[in-house]
Symmetry: C2
Amino acid sequence: MSEDKPRRSEATRAAILMAARERFAKDGYERATIRSIAADAGIDPAMVMRYYGNKERLFAAAAEFDLRLPDLSAIPQAEWGERLIAHFLWRWENDETMMALLRAGVTNEAAAERMRTIFAAQVGPTLFKVADDPATVPTRAGLLASQILGFALCRYILGLPPVVDISAEEAIRWIGPTLQRYLIG
Amino acid sequence: MSEDKPRRSEATRAAILMAARERFAKDGYERATIRSIAADAGIDPAMVMRYYGNKERLFAAAAEFDLRLPDLSAIPQAEWGERLIAHFLWRWENDETMMALLRAGVTNEAAAERMRTIFAAQVGPTLFKVADDPATVPTRAGLLASQILGFALCRYILGLPPVVDISAEEAIRWIGPTLQRYLIG
DNA sequence: CCTCCAAGTCAACAACTGTTGGCCAACACA
DNA sequence: TGTGTTGGCCAACAGTTGTTGACTTGGAGG
C-alpha cells in the first residue's frame, strides 16, 4: 500500500548496478543512458526503471561508496601521508565507483552533493580521531582532498601525460610529504 | 568557392561566444545546449550554426585560453610557489573559460585533449626556462597541475565546504609551499 | 489440467537534441 | 527604381532521451 513491494530478482538487479557503475564511470551522468546501461546488462531498458524507479535513483544506488580509510591511530604518525596516498591510489584503480562519482559530480549537482556528504562523513571523522587541534581539522581535510582528487583528476580522467607516467612509488614519494604537511604541518 | 566567405557581424559573433563560455562553464559540454546559448545571446539557434558551424567548433572557439603565466625568471625563486597559486586563484575567479574547460574536459574527450595541449604548450615552457634539471620538468609540471586543478575542483566545482571557506591568504600560505617543493624540492 | 503471478519484452509517448534550408527585412549601390 | 547582399528568423528534420503501460512467458501451486 504505502510502500509497494516490487518484483525483484537479485541477479539482474546486481547486473544492472554493475553496468551502471561502469557507464557512469566512463561517460559521466548525462552521457550514460538508461538504454546503454540496459544493453550492457543484457536486459530491457524498462527493467532498469522497474528496479530503480528513475535515473537519479539508479545513480544514487550506483554511487554508494566507502573510502575504507585506514585507522590512522594504528599507523606511525610519520607514515600517515605516504600510507594515505598509497591507499587512494589502490582504491582508485580497483573500484570504479570513485571515477563514476567524480565524473558525475562535476556536471551534476546531486552527484556533487553526494561527494560532499561522503567527504564530511568519512574524511572528517578519520582526522578528528587523531587530531591535536580539532579546530584546524576541516581545513586540513579539505587540503588533503584537493591534492588527492587533483592527482586522480589529472591521472585518470584528463590523462595529462606526465601525471599518467608517474609510477606508484614516485607518486607516493612526491605526494606523501604534501599530505603529511597538510595533516600535521 | 573552395572556402565560402560567410556573412558575419562581429557584435553578435562576440555575444554568442560570451554566452557559450558562460553556459559551458555552468553546465559542462553536454548540458550546455545550442538553444540555451542562443537564448542567452538573444538570437536564434540557427545563428550559432551559421557563425560556428557546429557545437564542437563553437566549444573550440569558446575554450581558447591563455593561462598568462608570469615569467618566473623575473621573480625571486623563494616566492615562486606563492606567486603561482595567487596567480591561479585570481585567474580562476576572473575568467570563466577555465571553468568551462574543466567542466567539459571531464566528460568530453575533445575538451580533455584541449586541456592537455594548453598544459603542454604553456606550463612546460614556463618551467623549462628556469629549470636546473630539464629531465625532471614534466613530472614537476604535472604535480603542479594536480595540486592547482585539485584545489580549483574542490573550491569552485564540487564546493567542498572547508575548501570554499579558505581565504585567499590562507590558500596561498598552505598551497604555496607545496608548489614550491614540486618546483625545486 | 487450470490458474496465478513474478520476470521480462515490446512499442510507443512526449520532450529535447544538433542541424538544415527556405524565407523575410533592411540596406547599398547602380 | 531595381537588384543584390547581408543578417536574421522560422519551421521542420531525424535521432535520442527518460519514462510508461500493455502484453508475453514460464514455472509453481491448486
